[in-house]
Symmetry: C2
């Protein structure tokens, strides 16, 4: 039930190649011919599987969305306290960024596809909304007195760390430390 389509082996290969290329070179800059070539598949097969480039872009973003959210949920589950759980999305970046040095795929997609009606644009904003809601939920669960403010602060730090990652500065460690201080200050003392 979780999968609407089992996705054929060729489809998976296409999605893998598209993922690499879109992320590393940009969505607009990568043509369908190149994706077909890199996945060792005919352009015809690509269109039989995905229908159009736009739909392939959507599939690309949704695949990343699933992987990222899974990682975050695992990090939350592994957190030792509600306070640490609030920091989970930031902590998850530690692992994620190792294989994703080109910043946030969703932010990049928004930069390339400004049209709000574009399906890929919708997916990207949906993903960010998910993160906002998650921060709010985690802050509330941790017993934070002003969860809205904290959630916004953490969102800014999260996105800031993500986007400055490309600038060869270790901003993530600084962001996490700062975030930890904010969470501790916002949650009434415990233990």
């Amino acid at each position: 039930m979780s999968e609407t389509k089992p996705m054929s082996v060729a489809g998976q290969r296409i999605l893998d190649a598209a993922g690499d290329l879109f992320y590393s070179r940009g969505i607009t800059a990568v043509g369908v011919d190149l994706i077909a070539e890199h996945s060792g598949v005919t352009k015809r097969t690509l269109y039989n599987q995905f229908g159009s480039k736009d739909q392939l872009v959507v599939a690309y973003l949704e695949e990343r969305e699933q992987r990222w959210q899974l990682l975050v949920r695992e990090t939350i589950a592994a957190a030792e306290s509600p306070i640490e759980a609030v920091l989970a999305p930031l902590e998850a970046q530690r692992i994620w960024n190792q294989n994703n040095p080109r910043g946030c795929a969703f932010i990049n997609a928004l930069a390339e596809l400004p049209d709000p009606t574009h399906p890929a644009h919708v997916v990207a904003t949906k993903q960010k909304q998910w993160l906002i809601d998650l921060f709010l939920e985690l802050a509330t669960a941790a017993g934070c007195s002003a969860p809205d403010t904290l959630a916004t602060q953490l969102l800014v730090l999260h996105e800031g760390a993500l986007v400055t990652q490309q600038l060869s500065l270790d901003t993530l460690a600084v962001s996490i430390e700062l975030a930890r201080g904010l969470v501790r200050a916002a949650v009434p003392a415990q233990s």
Copy 2:
């Protein structure tokens, strides 16, 4: 002496149109024909003035760079104290973002042009380096004890506020308030 080329009226029109289109629709998505049409100028004139699309992109980014840095310097000059001066780049966003709702043009350019050897990529990273250096300089001038850490924190907040601006949340106000707290805490008490 400040201008290497006086820039003809047609050149200015082209640059204006290119600025609007590149920023609002994305660099890769906008073709030279469209720019020529929007600026009421022939494609030939465009190429006589700028030589190539890449060079026009560079000119576009450099023009924004100049306008932004000017605004920041004015905000610094208007600051009432060294502590407020450190916050100037954040404060400048208040004005800047009103006419620039699509996030940071340089970050967007980096997203669209991943090739580090691309001249536009170089301009964009140079701009970010300028901001890093500026934060460091301002933090030091304010007498901050650990200017490196503060500068990195402020950079993260700055970029975070910039990139989350598109998400219809007032993240800038939250970021500035948080940044002010950080600066006050980092600078030994005065007066």
